[in-house]
């Protein structure tokens, strides 16, 4: 099965791509029109069925024609060490991405891909907007050949760049060392992760979803969902109370189930590899995602644990690489659950001397508590107060709770917040109930900002903000003098360092 692909001739994707393009268009259409479709399906008034069927068929037919056109007009090829794409049905687009700009080439397979035995290829570039490139479907062998051409070019470039440095070129040539499996998530691990995910967030999403649904239903069918709800809740009869009591565990159960399903869908069979200088994560049940980051490209590492996660002794680990702003989330490696051991292992591989490093810790001024109380006490109090004023319910009781809670959270936050500095690294520690750590190598910093609010000026405090290509570290309420010294040191290191930040 050894095939040689040259890619020098403009070529089309696999014909199977038509199906995938079609699916993509249909998905977009369905996403835009689903409230209408919903109404049509649950409310099929007699006599209209024919037109609806015709409409759906027409839309599908037009999409199919469009997909075929899109497929036939889409060519990709390699020219002068650039990956080129010519596409567009009505408006022609030319896109040339130089190999030097390519950050990573990732493969993605959803159910349809798996069924058709093809992969989608995502080519990511750093910073430059609008030059991200995606192939809908090509054969796996072809995709691997394409990636190998680019990677080979990059390896050669890397060697020729640092050829005089014997030690480095050696480490480059060893890239082919056997992959080492750092972590493989078992079913038990997945359940632990599912249990310890943030259920409040899921609950909020479900809540928002239902509100949106209620809105759509109201507009389309004229059922006043809010009115009904208000009617039942304000009545506060025995039935109402019972319904509320029943609804709470149901709601918790629902959000728990959804989180668990989501976790399994996204992280099923997750494997975290180290291949020489690269880290690779493969995961997903229906859509198998494969993401690779090379060590040099890592900009920031974050590991987080919550009280629930602490019970199981697990952390969430994120490895961020240089990425254009809007796609930050996509390009980071996410390991939703791993143990201290894997964290240490990863850190040892990425920043070898980090764990032995001696840091100097800087705390946060207690005045931060005022800000926390304002954010988590005052603003919610105003909201609850307004709600309580409009419909006298149980909201005023929340008012009593909110301030002590905010003070407590503020104090916890102030106690845990630390900025740790080492000549080579900055480590930011945070957390109210859990713990979160962000690690940045100083030479990867892009720019520094110091800001002072009127409240901070009175106490001679300042906020320090450090930007990297993979995320920011901000540290408010530190001594102004210290913030300036840290800034000056960072600038000194960045300006003196000739090491490439990626």
């Amino acid at each position: 099965m050894e095939q040689i692909f040259s890619f020098h001739q403009p070529q089309r994707q696999s014909p199977k791509a038509i199906i995938l393009i079609l699916f993509r268009y249909l998905r977009i259409i369905v996403r835009q029109l689903w409230p209408i479709l919903l109404v049509v399906l649950i409310n099929p008034r007699s006599g209209r069925g024919f037109f609806i069927t015709m409409g759906i068929m027409l839309v599908t037919f037009v999409s199919l024609i469009y997909s075929i056109l899109a497929y036939t007009r889409y060519y990709f090829f390699i020219q002068n060490n650039e990956l080129c794409v010519r596409s567009g049905v009505f408006r022609k687009t030319k896109l040339n991405v130089p190999f030097d700009r390519i950050q990573s080439i990732d493969f993605k397979r959803n159910v349809v891909h798996q069924f058709l035995n093809v992969v989608a290829v995502q080519v990511d570039t750093a910073g430059s907007k609008g030059s991200e490139l995606e192939l809908d479907a090509i054969e796996l062998s072809q995709a691997e050949a394409l990636r190998e051409i680019v990677m080979k070019y990059k390896r050669e470039q890397a060697i020729s760049e640092i050829a005089p440095d014997a030690e480095m070129s050696e480490s480059v040539s060893v890239t082919e060392e056997p992959p080492e499996l750092i972590l493989s998530l078992s079913a038990k691990d997945l359940i632990k992760i599912g249990i310890s995910e943030n259920h409040l967030r899921t609950a909020a999403i479900i809540f928002a979803f239902f509100l949106g649904l209620a809105d759509d239903v109201d507009q389309l069918l004229g059922w006043d969902v809010y009115g009904e709800l208000e009617h039942t809740t304000t009545a506060m009869s025995l039935v109402g109370v019972l319904a509320t009591l029943l609804a709470i565990p149901l709601f918790i159960g629902l959000s728990f189930t959804i989180t668990l399903i989501r976790t399994i869908l996204r992280y099923y069979g997750l494997k975290f590899w180290r291949e020489g200088q690269r880290f690779k994560v493969v995961s997903g049940l229906l859509t198998r995602n494969e993401k690779t980051i090379s060590r040099r490209k890592i900009q920031m590492i974050r590991w987080v644990t919550s009280p629930l996660k602490q019970l199981f002794g697990i952390f969430q680990l994120n490895i961020y690489q240089a990425a254009s702003v809007d796609q930050n989330q996509d390009k980071s490696l996410v390991i939703p659950g791993c143990y201290q051991e894997q964290i240490d292992h990863t850190l040892d591989a990425v920043v070898p001397s980090f764990r032995e490093a001696v840091f100097t810790a800087h705390g946060m001024h207690p005045a931060i508590v005022y800000r926390m109380v304002f954010l988590f006490g005052f603003i919610p109090a105003v909201l609850f107060g307004l709600m309580a004023w409009y419909n006298d319910g149980f909201m005023q009781w929340l008012l009593v709770l909110v301030f002590p809670l905010a003070v407590w959270m503020g104090i916890l936050y102030q106690k845990k917040r630390r900025l740790k500095i080492h000549p080579d690294y900055i480590l930011s520690e945070a957390g109210i109930f859990g713990h979160s750590y962000k690690l940045v190598e100083i030479y990867k910093i892009q720019s520094v900002d110091i800001s002072v609010s009127p409240l901070q000026r009175r106490r001679d405090l300042a906020s320090l903000e450090v930007y990297t290509a993979g995320g920011d570290i901000s540290f408010p309420y530190m001594r102004a003098e210290m913030a300036r010294q840290v800034r000056d040191y960072i600038l000194y290191r960045v300006e003196r360092d000739q090491k490439s930040w990626m």
Binding site: A322, S451, S453, Y467
Partner: protein
């Protein structure tokens, strides 16, 4: 470094107090004409908002007590906005060093951003409609750190902007060559 004084860290050969300090810079103010650009553009926006608000009062007379209050509020805010835009001009300045560029701004909420030249991705010079009328230009420096870390210096003479850009890019090229 003495022990009792809190230092940013130990374990270094670099004396922190000896480092070049970004604060003791000679800050260069922006072109005075830029104050008028700021106030004028704020005034245009304010006029549109205020006009809209009062038009609403006229068209919907049945809402009068409330809509008038809102319109008065919008008018006051607009006036404040024009004044504030003029005022904040005086707090904007930039500083050029051999290896970095800083921009300072803010009247009550002060902020100073510094971008080292060897982290600059690219720069561009833009001239808005008002800028052109007043003979000004705006220089934006992009880093890989995302929008919030980019540096925008408005109110420059086009000539100065070009010179700054050439200097910054010249330095970045050098930095790359040395690698």
């Amino acid at each position: 470094m003495t022990e009792e004084e809190p230092t940013i860290f130990t374990n270094t050969r670099v004396d922190i107090t000896e480092l070049p300090q970004a604060d003791q810079l000679e800050m260069i103010p922006l072109e005075p004409a830029y104050k008028w650009v700021r106030m004028l553009s704020a005034a245009l926006f304010a006029a549109a908002m205020t006009g809209g608000a009062w038009l609403f009062v006229l068209v919907q007379p049945e809402l009068t007590p409330y809509s008038t209050v809102v319109a008065v509020l919008v008018t006051t805010l607009s006036g404040w906005m024009i004044f504030y835009n003029g005022l904040s001009f005086h707090f904007m300045s930039y500083a050029l060093r051999e290896k970095d560029l800083s921009f300072r701004s803010g009247w009550l909420w002060k902020s100073m951003t510094t971008v080292p030249f060897n982290r600059v991705q690219h720069c561009d010079i833009k001239q808005g409609l008002l800028d052109r009328k007043f003979g000004l230009a705006k220089l934006t420096i992009y880093t890989a750190g995302g929008q919030s870390s980019d540096l925008m210096i408005p109110g420059l003479l086009p000539d100065t902007a070009e010179k700054l850009k050439a200097f910054i890019l010249g330095t970045t090229e050098q930095a790359v060559e040395q690698e």
